[in-house]
């Protein structure tokens, strides 16, 4: 049996970059998808609103683990083989699109009706209305829950280990299989996740409190 030494710790710590990279990639993908979902959900086409709502419900009503499994197996049906990295990125992006879409829908809808009517009265087109009137008021409201979801996403990347992507949790499992020091290894891993997530959580909470005080 191998000892749990500096090399093993280094191996685990180096795997953090894959956790961070996967989180960022999924967040970027989710931001694009989430924007589309939020705009569809708040738009004037009924069938688009229904479709966006269905999309959100499906992803909020099924386990992330199942979503990752399907992201791994569905491309195979079309003859495309995906590696765990692509499957994890695809699954987490689709997942994030639904949750960010729902968060941003709330932010868009929180802009008072008078603002929308004012923009219409000024003759602004859809793009100008959203970019110049709605976005400046919706974005500050959306920031705290978006950062809060980013924490969920970072934690969610740990499930990519189950479909075989070697990120932080999978690296820890590999080392644990060789050294069998589960308490030290998973404790270290928990600490690393905590160091990534806790500042984000604290920032999100502080922003939320500021927003609450400003609205009083």
């Amino acid at each position: 049996m191998r000892a749990f030494g500096p090399n093993e710790i280094l191996y685990i710590l180096l795997a953090v970059r894959w956790t961070l990279l996967l989180s960022l990639a999924a967040f970027a993908g989710g931001a694009v998808g989430g924007l589309l979902v939020a705009l569809a959900r708040t738009g004037k086409f009924r069938w688009l609103r229904l479709a966006a709502n269905g999309y959100i419900k499906v992803f909020q009503g099924t386990p992330l683990l199942m979503q990752l499994f399907l992201a791994f197996f569905v491309p195979g049906l079309f003859g495309w083989s995906v590696d765990p990295w692509a499957a994890a990125m695809l699954g987490l992006s689709l997942h994030a699109s639904a949750f960010l879409g729902e968060i941003w829908r709330g932010a868009i809808e929180s802009v008072p009706v008078g603002q929308w009517e004012g923009a219409d009265a000024l003759g602004l087109r859809y793009g100008a209305k959203m970019a110049l009137i709605v976005a400046p008021q919706a974005v500050p409201i959306a920031i705290p829950p978006t950062i809060g979801f980013l924490v969920q996403l970072v934690k969610g990347t740990s499930l990519a280990s189950i479909i075989g992507f070697v990120e932080l949790t999978r690296a820890a499992q590999i080392i644990n299989n060789a050294t069998f020091q589960p308490f030290k290894i998973f404790g270290l891993v928990a600490l690393v996740y905590f160091l990534i997530c806790w500042p984000l959580s604290a920032y999100s909470r502080r922003m939320e409190r500021k927003l609450l005080e400003a609205s009083r």
Binding site: P63, S158, T169
Partner: protein, 222 residues
Amino acid sequence: MSYEFDFADVFAAWPELLQGLINSLILSALAMAIGMVVAVAGALGKTSGPPALRAAIDGYIELIRNTPFLVQIFLIFFGLPTAGIRLSSNAAALLALVVNVGAYGIEIVRAGIESIQTGQIEAARALGFRPLQVFRHIILKPAIQAIYPSLTSQFILLMLNTSVCSTIAANELTAVAGDIQSRTFRSFEVYFVVTCMYLGMSVFFWTVFATIDRAFLRIPNR
């Protein structure tokens, strides 16, 4: 697309799938029930305990909320035996779920406790409400109204989270899916059916919770 779908093997395994579904529901219900005890105790400790206890509870909440459930379940299932505590897969899964949902529950219950307004209790007494009436109408109902939405969505999150317990071979729905998959090699079909089953459970609970909310919890204008 040249793939030929074959759901026959998956549907043939329906007794296993049904048992997995029931096990997932039992695991969720038990974890929620015990988790609520943790949540109420923690919330009371946090609102009226000594400073050291409050700090400890805060630490517990932050630690759980900022680490993945998968790592928590590994720490409990693989880590505890090295400290001499050996748990079965199912017991470890339940413990991990309780520890996890307890941390989220504390904040929810605390919000409920803080939503109670002492001025209203005094007003009710002044109006001649008996203590039991005060508790029912002024304390319990508003508190439940305040925590109901977060608590029910927490339950659905917990139910979806049970799928992660398959990694330590607790026998719930996702683990059953893994068994069927390794036997039939019908990966897509199995996971598609099981995903639909989870979605069915979510839709069922969304509907039930919304109905209860409409029937009992809306504030009457009388």
